[in-house]
Symmetry: C2
Subunit: 121 residues, 2 copies
DNA sequence: AAGGTAATTAGGTAATTGCTTAATTAATGA
DNA sequence: TCATTAATTAAGCAATTACCTAATTACCTT
């Protein structure tokens, strides 16, 4: 009944989904890409324009994020359109927090506190 | 009123607190350590015993987690006792999800869904 | 004070990362 | 069909990571 808890974490060897997500998130440029995409979908070029690094470098970051299941790639003519997949991110982070923080109360509380703060500043 | 949102992510240069947390979480052994500590505090040796790698290697992981503000180090005699600090983890992850996922609804919903699932399986 | 145990620091190394530029693939439009 | 633009793949390289063993520090016991 609580065996499940460590399974995801103990997927230690041979890179699993959670590992891919956490690795993807460990890079500031990649987190920045996610933040950009949270506002609206963008083409690879539009994303690259927002960084000072080369286009191939950004392309690589995008494929890491895609492999982690954090964003979707849609070819539209000669452009490639990227957009966010929220589910995986939310599930992975939340699942992890549930494992580490007893009963998952903390993040729920925090989430509610933040929501309240936004309502009445 | 929503300027704050990108600040944490745009701390790109010169390693900031969020970067340290995400980097700390990017390692499977380190996530495993957090999971162990979620059950109870442990000494460095007790933690090292749970891994097949050398003690110094574990010690290094511990200091990375400590630098990220995820756990606390307490010297007790000749032992060093480690225990979890939940706050930083929860705040960082939740803060990030709030930035990437519109209005932070998703994680709250997920959290509640999970809570419900645990109540009535 | 000497010997033993817990833990970290120091030093070294093989593998990986994060970029670069150059080459390639694919779609558009004259 | 040929040149142009978007994007990725390929090849290469400096810097970092993740481990190891050996040495050191700190504390406890006798």
């Amino acid at each position: 009944m609580e065996d499940e808890t460590f399974d995801d974490i103990t997927e230690d060897s041979s890179v699993g989904p959670a590992q891919r997500v956490f690795h993807a998130l460990s890079s500031a440029p990649r987190r920045k890409i996610l933040a950009y995409l949270s506002a609206s979908g963008l083409t690879a070029g539009e994303i690259a324009d927002r960084f000072s690094m080369s286009k191939p470098a950004v392309s690589q970051h995008l494929s890491i994020l895609e492999a982690a299941g954090l964003l979707r790639r849609e070819k539209q003519g000669q452009f490639v359109h990227y957009s966010l997949i929220e589910n995986n991110l939310v599930n992975t982070l939340n699942g992890f927090v549930q494992e580490v923080c007893p009963v998952g109360r903390p993040i729920k509380k925090e989430s509610q506190a933040r929501a309240r703060r936004k309502e009445s500043p």
